[in-house]
């Protein structure tokens, strides 16, 4: 027998509405499910729960938010009003906040259960949040009593078709507890420490009834609430089947196109431009980006020089970069508070949205300096380049030679696995500064493996044959 308004299928889902989270959960929370969101104070549980319930209300659903904590609802609203997901006008009609502290103090866990049951029914709630499970746990005289409390919540959730979120400020890494064994899912929120930096992340350690993206996923709390970035390597995406084509995409450098039998980089391929600082990597990358035109736009991802400085460098070389950001889009990321998956999401979102034909990542060092790269390096880059290939864009990534020694993830074997083409640049400083380029690898097209010299012409750099290096 159901007391809910409508009979629901057990696989019905309630989308969380939190960017990235539904992808991790395989589509959302299960209707009637009971979930624990666990993390130390400040981990973001209350913001996450409020984000979910306000998105639910925006979609027409109703929510009861029950607190067992001393923090007043007024204080809670003050904090939440800074987020764009929070709409005070849906309170109290669609999101109803009540305190169960008095019920707990007067009648113990039974009082809380009675309150939850009554509020679920009277508000026809699709989601109920119980913020402060730790208070209920401390009020329980035994594990058995706490288990009965959770069991009662499950029964009422099932009968009413209501999804219940239990927020607890227990440390995410504490040993498995009685209540954890009973619920339908557990989401842990943690802060990972990288030197002086901390990065928020989230892990779904249990989720009945569906596959989830395993492992840690970073998230950020910003003005729009929470944005979760599913770990790129774990995200379920289509494989890059036959996306690299035997069609040349101009390198933008006179003399370089001809070194490939197909007159340029293979369309949809990834090319690594490697060499020491000052050897011309960014210069060749700018030539590639300068080929952007309407209908064949480019994205330039830079970590070092600002777009304005890149424009000046291009002008010095005799290159004219397109002014229209729809034709040449810059994504400049200064070193600092970057997160790997946020960077990857930003790049892939831009390429997908604008269907950029060309992408420059200048350079790999910017990714390597981001916390977490040392754990994931090669796998992350492989996933990123695989996604770019799948999008059909032709990618150039600059790799400083010092990068290869900094973290041992871009050694020649790794780079070879990541890149379809490898163009090595090197310098000779004596008797005068000269720069050279050699194709080390071309996966799709036959190529001329002879060394070429970079020379500056009035319209940019050109590669010319080197009759004798000793000249």
């Amino acid at each position: 027998m159901s007391t809910g308004a409508e009979k629901t299928s057990p696989i019905d889902r309630i989308p969380t509405g939190v960017p990235g989270l539904d992808e991790i959960l395989g589509g959302g929370l299960l209707r009637s499910g009971v979930y624990i969101f666990q993390g130390s104070p400040g981990a973001g549980k209350t913001i996450l729960a409020n984000h979910i319930v306000h998105r639910h209300a925006a979609g027409g659903g109703k929510v009861v938010y029950v607190t067992l904590l001393a923090e007043s609802h007024a204080r809670l609203f003050q904090h939440m009003e800074s987020f764009t997901f929070f709409h005070p006008d849906v309170v109290p009609e669609k999101v109803y906040y009540v305190s169960a502290f008095h019920a707990l103090r007067s009648n113990g866990l039974k009082g809380v259960i009675d309150l939850l049951r009554a509020e679920m029914r009277s508000h026809q709630a699709g989601i109920v949040v119980l913020d402060g499970l730790v208070m209920a746990a401390s009020a329980a005289e035994s594990d058995e009593e706490l288990k009965l409390f959770i069991s009662d919540i499950q029964t009422h959730s099932t009968l009413s078709g209501c999804t219940t979120l239990l927020l607890t400020s227990e440390n995410a890494d504490r040993p498995v507890s009685a209540e954890q064994t009973m619920v339908d899912g557990i989401v842990l929120l943690r802060e990972r420490v990288f030197g002086v930096r901390r990065e928020r992340n989230l892990e779904v350690v249990k989720f009945r009834g569906s596959k989830t993206l395993r492992g840690n996923h970073s998230f950020r709390i910003g003005p729009q609430g929470i944005v979760v970035y599913p770990r790129l390597e774990s995200a379920r995406r289509p494989g890059p089947t036959d996306c690299v084509q035997r069609t040349g995409v101009s390198t933008g450098v006179a003399g370089l196109d001809e070194m490939f039998a197909i007159n340029g980089y293979a369309k949809g391929s990834v090319t690594a431009l490697s060499g020491p600082s000052g050897c011309g990597k960014t210069t060749l990358a700018l030539h590639f980006a300068a080929q952007a035109r309407p209908g064949e736009s480019a994205l330039f991802v830079g970590f070092y020089e600002s777009p304005a400085l890149l424009g000046q460098v291009a002008a010095t070389l005799g290159l004219r970069l397109p002014d229209d950001p729809a034709v040449l889009e810059f994504m400049w990321q200064s070193f600092g508070e970057n997160m790997l998956d946020e960077l990857a999401a930003g790049i892939l979102e831009r390429v997908g949205r604008s269907r950029h034909a060309r992408v420059v990542i200048d350079g790999a060092g910017g990714l390597m300096a981001t916390p977490g790269f040392s754990d994931r390096g090669g796998a992350f880059l492989a996933a990123l380049t695989s996604e770019l290939r799948a999008l059909g864009t032709t990618t150039l990534i600059t790799v400083e030679q010092m990068d290869t020694t900094r973290a041992l993830v871009l050694d020649s074997a790794t780079m070879s696995a990541l890149a379809d083409n490898v163009l090595d640049l090197h310098m000779m400083k004596s008797p005068r500064m000269r720069r050279f380029a050699t194709i080390r690898k071309s996966r799709v097209s036959r190529c001329d493996l002879r060394e070429r010299e970079l020379t500056l012409t009035p319209t940019g750099v050109a590669l010319v044959e080197v009759p004798s290096i000793g000249d």
Binding site: A70, S72, H73, A74, R75, L76, F77, Q78, P88, D89, V90, V91, P92, E93, Y96, Y97, V98, S99, A100, F101, H102, A103, R105, S106, L115, A118, E119, S122
Partner: protein, 127 residues
């Protein structure tokens, strides 16, 4: 002269305790209830000159409580101060007849000023 009597209905215990202490310090006799239903049960004991009630409470909310009181002849004109974390605009749909509204969090000075004003209204009405 008897002290003015206030029925304070608030589910958040910490807020209820602070407001009750403040009102008592100002010379009011305060009865506290954690929700609308409990408030009705304590009505006789409280015999209020003024009702201060939160809106969102378990079981019976502030709107339901005020409607129930308005149906009782002796409380049909009882001044009501409604307090809520929700904006006043969100409560309009409930058509609750109250005399004053304060959105939480509010300053205690403003709270006492409004309580004093409502008490004065009640005093004139019952004179």
């Amino acid at each position: 002269m008897t002290a003015p009597r206030i029925l304070l209905v608030e589910d958040e215990l910490s807020s209820a305790e602070v407001l009750a202490l403040l009102l008592a310090d100002d010379g009011y006799e305060v009865t506290v209830a954690p929700d609308g239903r409990q408030a009705l049960l304590r009505l006789e004991e409280a015999a209020p000159d003024l009702l201060i009630t939160d809106f969102m409470m378990p079981g019976m909310n502030g709107a339901m409580l005020v409607q129930a009181l308005r149906a009782m002849p002796q409380y049909a004109a009882l001044p009501v101060l409604m307090i809520s974390g929700a904006p006043e605009s969100a409560l309009r749909a409930y058509a609750v007849p109250y005399q004053a509204f304060l959105r939480k969090p509010f300053s205690l000075d403003e709270f006492l000023k409004i309580v004093g004003r409502l008490r004065a209204v009640r005093g004139r009405g019952s004179a």
